[in-house]
């Protein structure tokens, strides 16, 4: 092995930036835009989803600003409706769905299983172009005057009663959907076909398992969304009547189709995040993940059950009582694998040797907020309780606890954890810890009051509200301000670290994953020779042995 692949591991002080890496392999904008390298595509995604995250975040800020007072005084009602629609569409379809899979998954999945790239590198690039096309259509609808359907596109409101840019936005989501279908397909094939010799299914890191489960959902669920959107467009353009009761259609059908995708979609969003948490917790406790198989299979169980709970979004819509019973029961079942995961993560810490670097703090944040988010989901899955809570701020709070408290925390944990691998540089540790704490506090202040105001009955998507709800809304807006600071900080110091950060070295965290055994940032081809896997994931004894050997090697050379 050449000296560039093994920089003396444990001692960061002597770490050097490798001369050659995927970042400087080729130069110029075109070399990025036409790349088939999964790492470069991952970085393209990272840049673009960050851009859309801040667009979505700006709308969130405007919404909270309007809700500071009970009166509809900041903007007109139509504008407010456009704000929350754009916030939802951008955050869900352009940030949450691709966040971990398309950035970290793209970058890490092949390396973790010892492959040189994904199975279909060019389709991977196509995915990014489709994503960008979807993004451009979304921006177009925004620039042309916006859309006010809400991200759920409920018919017949979206088909017959609005004259905003529904079709432009629908096209955006249709196209972006294919981006995630292709990504899912790519991941599934890669995991089946490209594992290095010795990398059996049960030696894969749990991150790969969760990506696999999420990919199944993407491939099987997203086409149904595409169908729903096509039907919506046909209904809007030609009035074919599938959703129109006057023509013998069923107005509820659209919601069945929509939630058939959009419920599994929340698992598309959260599962990859759970994968990140498994990696982070194992690394910073120096311990294998407690109950590896239970955690792996719980991901698959979530993916499976996730397809059979969609009608729990429609308990008050006059579905038959008996189907409501079935869907409520299945909803209770889908909650169990998440509980299993939480306890397995907690028990991974038992008898570990724990340190509290930034990714670990974000992971703690994830565990706390996801526990609350998950348990408040039980409220909504429970039939009679759902009647009072659905369509109120309680749902908003629950959803944000899972998606922002859970997923976004996991995303940030992952970005901080792998940042040294992505860029070869470290970020400022104390500043990033501050950001993690600020985010956690801001988050709770923003969304805990929303549970209370939701139980009071404040409906979601309300531009104006009764004055007695103001105190809670003011708290929420104050929290959102703090949360905004928490999200701005990483952008600033991560940007700073690109140039001024300390050199990371191959394995700054002493983690066991294959990605940590190669140089940071990696070579374009990832591995100089195909690795042969003889150990399980999270085998810290193997890592210790390996480091001893390397030390000897280095001393010999020296």
């Amino acid at each position: 092995m050449s000296a560039t692949t093994i920089v003396s591991l444990p001692d960061q002080a002597t770490a050097q930036m490798p001369k050659r890496s995927y970042l400087n392999n080729e130069h110029g904008l075109l070399s990025w835009l036409l790349t088939a390298d999964h790492k470069r595509i991952g970085m393209l995604y990272l840049l673009s989803i960050t851009f859309f995250f801040f667009i979505g975040g700006a709308f969130a800020g405007l919404i909270r600003l309007e809700l500071l007072t009970p009166q509809p005084d900041l903007v007109a009602s139509d504008t407010y409706n456009k704000f929350f629609t754009m916030h939802g569409i951008v955050m869900i379809f352009l940030f949450l769905v691709p966040s971990v899979p398309a950035t970290l998954g793209n970058f890490l999945l092949p390396i973790m299983i010892g492959a040189k790239d994904l199975a279909f590198p060019k389709i991977n690039l196509l995915s990014w172009y489709l994503y960008m096309a979807g993004g451009i259509f979304t921006l177009a609808s925004l620039v042309l005057g916006g859309v006010d359907t809400g991200w759920t596109f409920t018919t017949p409101l979206s088909t017959h009663y609005l004259n905003t840019h529904v079709l432009t936005t629908a096209t955006a989501i249709f196209i972006a959907g294919f981006s995630s279908i292709f990504t899912g397909l790519n991941f599934i094939v890669t995991i089946h076909r490209m594992r290095a010799p010795g990398m059996t299914w049960f030696r894969m890191p749990l991150f790969c398992w969760s990506q696999y489960a999420a990919s199944l959902l993407m491939v099987l669920g997203t086409p149904v969304l595409a169908i729903a959107i096509v039907l919506l467009a046909l209904e809007r353009l030609f009035g074919i009547g599938v959703f129109d009761p006057a023509k013998g259609g069923d107005p509820l059908l659209f919601q069945h189709l929509f939630w058939f995708y959009s419920h599994p979609a929340v698992y598309i969003m959260i599962l990859p995040g759970m994968g990140v948490i498994s990696e982070v917790i194992s690394t910073f406790t120096r311990k294998r993940v407690f109950g590896y198989t239970a955690v792996a299979f719980s991901s698959v169980a979530i993916a499976l059950f996730g397809f059979f709970v969609w009608a729990h979004h429609m308990f008050i819509m006059g579905v038959s009582n008996y189907s409501a019973l079935v869907f409520s029961l299945l909803t209770m079942l889908v909650a169990v694998p998440s509980a299993i995961k939480i306890f397995n993560w907690a028990f991974t810490m038992q008898k570990g040797s724990i340190t509290f670097e930034t990714p670990m703090l974000y992971a703690f944040g994830f565990i706390g907020l996801f526990t609350i988010g998950g348990l408040t989901g039980i409220f909504l899955g429970s039939l009679g309780m759902d009647v009072h809570l659905t369509e109120t701020y309680f749902v908003v709070a629950h959803f944000h606890f899972v998606m922002v408290g859970g997923m976004l925390m996991a995303f940030l944990a992952g970005i901080h954890f792998w940042w040294p691998k992505l860029t070869g540089r470290m970020y400022p540790e104390s500043l990033s810890k501050l950001a993690a704490v600020v985010t956690f506090i801001g988050f709770n202040l923003t969304f805990l009051p929303q549970f209370v105001v939701g139980y009071l009955g404040m409906p979601r998507r309300y531009h104006a509200y009764p004055a007695e709800y103001q105190v809670l809304n003011v708290l929420s807006t104050a929290g959102a301000t703090i949360l905004g600071v928490g999200y701005m900080l990483p952008i600033l110091y991560l940007g700073w670290s690109l140039k001024y950060g300390a050199i990371a070295g191959n394995n700054p965290w002493q983690a066991t994953g294959l990605e940590w055994q190669i140089q940071s940032p990696p070579l374009t081809e990832n591995f100089l020779e195909t690795p042969i896997i003889t150990h399980e994931a999270y085998d810290y004894e193997w890592l210790e042995e390996k480091m001893k050997l390397e030390k000897q090697e280095v001393t010999h050379v020296g």
């Binding site: 009761p245 107005p251 409520s328 040797s353 706390g368 408040t376 369509e391 007695e468 103001q470």
Partner: protein
């Protein structure tokens, strides 16, 4: 303190007028709140348990105190524990929630009925006596009230948080919800399903009154015509009366006393005649042909407003005999211009 007394007063008033928990103003509310507190207890227990595990392990096994990790494979016993116990708790929640759901959505037999029509962006309530109100609903306390609701355009959702009830209001389909208010006062009505521009303006107020006050209100706000009376007029003017005359030889089934009965349709289906069935049968008659009759009734889709349909339903619901139908037929016979039966021709033109 440097804070000015005026500002201080404002803050005190502002905090004082804020709400933290909704009023329990219906018979259902205590049941819903009981489940809510159970679930809050479950959440607190879960969060404290997970929080305690993470904190204790963090303190006990931090690197300074525990420099070398002990590798543990897992434990089937523990896995089983944290699979079965959460599952058990969730199943209790499921059963409890299901019982509550059936309580909320199964109205008592003796409930009085009020119709609600939702449209962008207002609620229109119609009492059987013909009292109409917009964005308001007057109800007596201590008596079960059922709302039969429909939307004229998009999805709406009718919610009274202080009663803990809510139901989607759907275009083209009746949905119902019921409640029994336990205290007088005014309570919010919200539309909770996003329905377009003025969604947050689609609000109203329930006024719960003592039965005596309610009777007084009814008599003071009547429009003179009950819903059934309006329905009777429509029944005649739409020509329904020609076929549904109640005569043995007539081409349509006898409607007197049909409400609540069981019918067999030509396709063999057994149905109970309720509000939804009557509405569907008027709008989509070819799918609802009573056994023994031919599918000759034309559709009235687009010809009768939802208000009109409610009037017709209310009329048929209250029709115990065909006496008044015959009376009307006689009157119309006496001044008929053309000798031919106008039904088929007229309805086709419509």
């Amino acid at each position: 303190m440097g804070i000015s007394p005026v500002l201080w007063q404002f803050l005190v008033n502002w905090l004082h007028s804020s709400a933290l928990f909704p009023t329990e103003a219906s018979t259902i509310a205590p049941y819903t709140d009981a489940l809510y507190f159970f679930l809050i207890g479950m959440t607190i227990f879960g969060v404290v348990l997970v929080g305690a595990l993470v904190t204790v392990f963090s303190l006990k096994y931090r690197r300074e105190k525990h420099p070398v990790a002990v590798q543990i494979e897992g434990s089937t016993l523990l896995e089983a524990t944290w699979t079965i116990i959460p599952l058990a708790i969730f199943l209790v929640t499921f059963v409890w929630g299901a019982l509550l759901y059936f309580r909320i959505y199964n109205p008592p037999a003796n409930s009085m009925n009020i119709y609600v029509v939702g449209k962008q962006w207002m609620w229109k309530a119609e009492h059987p006596g013909g009292q109409h109100e917009i964005n308001a609903l007057h109800i007596p306390i201590g008596q079960p009230v059922q709302l039969t609701m429909i939307s004229q355009d998009v999805f709406h959702s009718f919610s009274i948080p202080d009663f803990r009830v809510k139901r989607e209001v759907i275009p083209g389909r009746y949905t119902t919800v019921w409640f029994q208010a336990t205290q007088t006062g005014k309570f919010h009505i919200f539309c909770t399903q996003y329905c377009g521009t003025l969604h947050s303006g689609m609000i109203g107020e329930v006024t719960a009154m003592t039965p005596a006050d309610y009777q007084k209100w009814l008599s003071e706000s009547t429009s003179g015509m009950s819903l059934a009376q309006n329905g009777e007029r429509l029944f005649a003017s739409l020509g329904c009366i020609q076929c549904h005359s109640g005569n043995a030889a007539s081409r349509g089934p006898n409607l007197a006393g049909v409400y609540g009965s069981k019918l067999t349709l030509t396709n063999g289906q057994q149905v109970t005649v309720n509000d939804a069935y009557l509405r569907d049968a008027i709008l989509n008659p070819s799918e609802h042909v009573t056994a023994g009759f031919s599918p000759i009734m034309p559709t009235y889709q687009g010809q009768v407003s939802e208000d009109g349909l409610i009037d017709l339903v209310e009329y048929i619901k209250n029709m115990q005999s065909n006496y008044r139908v015959h009376q009307t037929l006689m009157t119309s016979d006496s001044d008929k211009a053309a000798p031919t039966t106008p039904t088929t021709g007229t309805t086709q033109e419509r």
